[in-house]
Amino acid sequence: MKQQNVLIIMLLVAILACFGGPAFASSTLEEKVFEHQFANGLQLLVVERHDTPVVSAYITIGVGSVHETSEMRGVAHLLEHMLFKGTKTLGTTDYQKEKSILEEIEKVGSKLDALRLQDDADPSRVAALEQGLATLQAEHKQYVVKDVFSRIYSENGGVGYNAFTSKDLTSYLISLPSNKLELWALIESDRMKNPVLREFYTERDVIREERRRSYDTNPPRRHYETLMANAFTVHPYRNPIIGWHSDIANLSPQKTREFLQKYYAPVNTVIALVGDVKAADAVALVERYFADIEPGTPVPVVAAAEPEQNGEKRITEIFDAEPRLAIAWHKPTMPHQDDYVFDLIDQILGSGRTSRLYRSLVEEQQLATSVSVYGAPGSRYPNLFVIEAVPRHPHTTDELETAIYAELDKLKNELVDETELNKVRNRLVTDQLRQLDSNSGLARLLTSYQSLADDWRYLATYTREIEKLSAEEIKAVANKYLTSANRTVVVLKREAAL
């Protein structure tokens, strides 16, 4: 429900990148995770932690904005919002009566959307339809029990009730006192079986405001959005998760329902329960509430493939803010061997005060106030290696760019020494442990890996792969991908500074 799409996926990628280290923590984790697959394809992962009587629940559907076509950009995220609106039993005073008004609302709303697309639309007809829609919406109110899931979870002590949509997947999360776990099963299974997409057109307006707040008025996120939209030419990773304004304005209940029916199915779903719950009880509970749902069909593979980039792309984004620089290079994603190497490169260049770019750009040359290095925007398909930097006045983004390339040249020409490699591995191991600390964080990691890599154990093998990597491979990968022809450079700045 939050606007965190981009941020979350960046985090997720960062988490994926950080999740390494030798066998110690992984084996502990392997012993702790209990897994079960139900007959309808639904997967359940459980980690028992009985210290505090709380439990965190994550439901992750392996569908995200990458699975949208151009006629329905933004629908994965809109659907995520709509699934907060209740079901045929929860959120309504009388669904049978409500149903016919909902159908009327949809008819008028669709007409209105179609009319608004016509340049020569008669304004009085638009106004009449708007009035008609408002009247129906007011009439509909009498059947609505407002924001019912939120209410029920809250009065039962739930915290962190939320959902997020990323490029690759969609997750629904809540933490509850552990004696209330059955409430989660009741609500979430009902949400999967009987959702009602009520208050659709109002929610579409909410998402327009979300877009204004999170992208149109926010310099770093606008910058990121522009980078993604330009680095990719063909692959849907180019599209913002939230959609462009015209996308959102033209999403319909019909398109939203179709997306729901197609993809929200047990075969595409992973559940993780972490906390004060017994694995056997969890299996029984999930069986009882979710096992009668039809398996559904798997989300299809995205066919669009990004062609090789044959020359630098250079973009300027005008915004009323101080300048910022971002550079992205295409790279493969997991489980490609080179993707592991990039995780090490992320660390060497951008993690911590002794990382190369921080040392060079921030401390020694004092050209920048911050540098960050990460993979984006998703992990299911080939993605990008990104360096972002904020210049320090009077230094320019041009100076910053030159200084970054000088550091990349070192990576291409010289072998990383063993001390630095050890430091980086050490950091990966320890950060992995830190990630395991919170119930909710662990539940997120487990469902994400299970969904993206088809096996949460990817974590353990990942660790071993990282251990094997050599300085020669780092050098080779830097030379292969970090080329001028493969990069997209976006500078955000004020018009006056052109």
Binding site: R213, K423, R434
Partner: protein, 479 residues
């Protein structure tokens, strides 16, 4: 039937069998949450061991062996509240230079390298009342970690070149302070709520330039003493070993007199105003604020319930329901009371909406606030607000380090000994008339400060309807 399904489903994991039984079972599933019976929740407040070392260091300990990590907070009981107006920015420069400036035998570069080699996370920050170090490290490195803390507390270097670097960074941050409307609105609101007070000041290039290395050293020499030091440790450590290491590093540090800091008095702004900062954006950021309360106020629990109903309870709050859910005017609509430890903290309510709907959004917020003053909240809303806070109380104890550092903070600020034990009881006792009384005391429309950041072309003229003086604020573009 339900019992039958429950006990047998565990055994029936085969596809056909499970589907057969479940189709029979489905009919018996409860449809509504009120059909569920919950087992009793067993929860006891976690124990935190507290002890005072011979030289006055106050220790808070809790072991947690789940992960081979240790987390430590070292807190000096003095902060930035006495910073003079001409040196605003001192707090961040102190925290950042303390962290980055080297300590003991190690130069800044050596300390950074050492901590990165240990994969330790270290941060430092100065707040109004306290100054803290946070350290997270592997349990096998505990001895090295405590030694670093010892160096930072007893032998910080505040290296000149690092202070200069931090100053340059802070100056660049100033240049960027008008990039983001959320940041602008908070700065303007705090300045309006706390005029001529350190809580309302923000740094300028001049005040940043005025901070010297000697200022940092003076603060450390004045306030860093074992009897003004509080340490919280959680994670995988051996108690006896930890005490020995602490004693090795801090045992010889002698007690001494530390000056008391007195927070300067806050003057409540007498009348409301609207500050309008023009920025060419498609959406306007709206924040409304006033002075709130301190932790010693008898109505603090009523205020928590009030705030939940106003805008603190997410979708269950009136602001979220009316502004977002019913009208689609905004994505976020929120309120909070920051309960001040020693001085009244701010009360803030805010939202962001397209420029054309600014006045409707502000009017809705004010109507909701006025209604909370004029009418008692209904029983249903009251119960939801209370139940939510009572039943989620247990989440305050999910993270072991949060448990120890919370206990330390409560003790430092002299909260009652039974504060946590009686928290739920206090919330449960709040009545509708308590909420109304709190609303009348803390929600005062004519006194509130309103800050708007956006493009007023579509709403500027309508603003006069609010009957408050309007001040246009110039947002400087750095050159």
């Amino acid at each position: 039937m339900m019992i039958f399904c429950r006990s047998f489903n565990r055994l029936l994991l085969g596809a056909v069998a499970a589907l057969m039984i479940l189709s029979g079972c489905a009919a018996s599933l409860p449809e509504y949450p009120d059909q569920l019976d919950y087992p009793e929740l067993t929860f006891h407040l976690p124990e935190v061991e507290t002890l005072v070392l011979a030289n006055g260091i106050q220790l808070y300990l809790k072991e947690d062996k789940e992960l081979p990590l240790v987390q430590m907070t070292a807190m000096i009981g003095s902060g930035s509240m006495t910073t003079p107006a001409e040196k605003i920015g001192f707090a961040d420069l102190f925290g950042n230079t303390w962290r980055a400036g080297g300590a003991g035998e190690r130069t800044p570069e050596e300390l950074d390298a050492y901590l990165d080699y240990l994969a330790a996370d270290l941060s430092a920050a100065m707040g109004p009342y306290t100054t803290q170090l946070e350290l997270s490290l592997r349990s096998e490195d505990l001895e090295q970690g405590v030694a670093v803390l010892g160096d930072l507390l007893l032998r910080p270097s505040f290296a000149e070149e690092r202070l200069e670097l931090e100053r340059l960074q802070a100056q660049e941050q100033l240049r960027r302070q008008n990039d983001n409307p959320g940041v602008i609105s908070r700065r303007l609101l705090m300045a309006a709520l706390y005029p001529n007070h350190y809580l309302g000041y923000s740094p300028t290039p001049e005040t940043l330039a005025a901070v010297t290395r000697q200022d940092l050293i003076d603060f450390q020499q004045r306030y860093f003493a074992p009897n003004n030091l509080w340490i919280a440790v959680s994670g995988d450590f051996d108690r006896e070993n930890l005490l020995k290491i602490l004693n090795d590093n801090f045992g010889a540090w002698p007690k001494r007199q530390v000056p008391q800091q007195q927070p300067p008095v806050v003057m409540r702004p007498e009348s409301g105003s609207i500050q309008l900062a023009v920025k060419d954006l498609p959406q306007t950021t709206i924040v409304i604020g006033d002075l709130g309360l301190t932790k010693d106020h008898p109505d603090q629990y009523a205020v928590r319930v009030l705030n939940y109903i106003l805008g603190g309870g997410g979708f269950n709050s009136r602001m979220m329901r009316e502004i977002r859910s019913n009208r689609g005017l905004a994505y976020s609509a929120y309120s909070y009371f920051q309960v001040g430890r020693r001085l009244p903290g701010p009360f803030v309510a805010g939202t962001e909406t397209k420029n054309a709907s600014v006045l409707p959004a502000i009017s809705l917020m004010r109507e909701i606030m006025a209604d909370l003053r004029n009418n008692p909240v209904n029983e249903d809303e009251l119960q939801l607000a209370k139940e939510s806070q009572i039943n989620s109380f247990v989440f305050g104890f999910e993270n072991t380090h949060a448990v120890v550092s919370q206990q330390m903070t409560l003790d430092f600020f002299d909260y009652p000994q039974d504060y946590l034990a009686r928290y739920r009881e206090h919330i449960a006792a709040v009545t509708a008339s308590d909420v109304q009384r709190a609303a009348r005391e803390f929600i005062n429309l004519s006194r509130q400060q309103i800050v708007l950041v956006g493009d007023p072309q579509e709403f500027g003229k309508e603003l006069v309807e609010l009957g408050l003086p309007i001040v246009e604020v110039e947002l400087d573009k750095p050159r």
